[in-house]
Amino acid sequence: QKEVEQDPGPLSVPEGAIVSLNCTYSNSAFQYFMWYRQYSRKGPELLMYTYSSGNKEDGRFTAQVDKSSKYISLFIRDSQPSDSATYLCAMTWVNTNAGKSTFGDGTTLTVKP
């Protein structure tokens, strides 16, 4: 079983829809949770990060972490065609020299105009 499981998708939604992207994890040592966005033939770019349980909002994006359930979500409000990309959840430990992040397999989102 993978340490991080991500809803596989793909997702296709109309412009303006609310999108929910989800991951579960098994390692309770994870402390830091991230969402990356990856456009086709590009490297991932960090979209949002959270450190503790709760919600964090940035514009149209909200990241939610529930450590008790080992479940994280990314919500996109008023989705736009430019949001069409693959979204990867990732998590790691907060530590010096912590090194690697553990990634989900990604969910590909298409927002249709």
């Binding site: 991080v4 991500q6 402390q31 830091y32 033939r41 590009k42 490297g43 991932p44 770019e45 960090l46 990060y49 450190y51 990867l88 990732a90 790691t92 430990w93 907060v94 530590n95 010096t96 020299n97 912590a98 090194g99 690697k100 992040s101 553990t102 990634f103 989900g104 397999d105 990604g106």
Partner: protein, 115 residues
């Protein structure tokens, strides 16, 4: 300033040949990571450098894979005797000091196809 760059952007090779992939991290970043992304998959960690040393090589899939970093900057990932299952996108990332909470900045990747 410039971001993370990787070369070549695409590489096609024959099974059994050796390949070298290069990563130029953001200037001043001490931490450097290599990941592999197979089609439709997430990122698989390969190796992590702190300066020129590699405290975590746990993700290298076999002894055909090796990596080095010189001058605390450029890194080279070498795959010897390539196999078809090595076909993937190889991504490099760097961060300021290597703390888990730091932002990792990714390069565009090298797309490797082994025929």
């Amino acid at each position: 300033g410039a971001g993370v760059s990787q070369s070549p952007s695409n590489k096609v090779t024959e099974k059994g040949k050796d390949v070298e992939l290069r990563c130029d991290p953001i200037s001043g970043h001490t931490a450097l990571y290599w990941y592999r992304q197979s089609l439709g998959q997430g990122l698989e960690f390969l190796i992590y450098f702190q300066g020129n040393s590699a405290p975590d090589k746990s993700g290298l899939p076999s002894d055909r894979f090796s990596a080095e970093r010189t001058g605390g900057s450029v890194s080279t990932l070498t795959i010897q005797r390539t196999q078809q299952e090595d076909s993937a996108v190889y991504l490099c990332a760097s961060s300021a000091q290597g703390g888990g909470q730091e932002t990792q900045y990714f390069g565009p990747g090298t797309r490797l196809l082994v025929l």
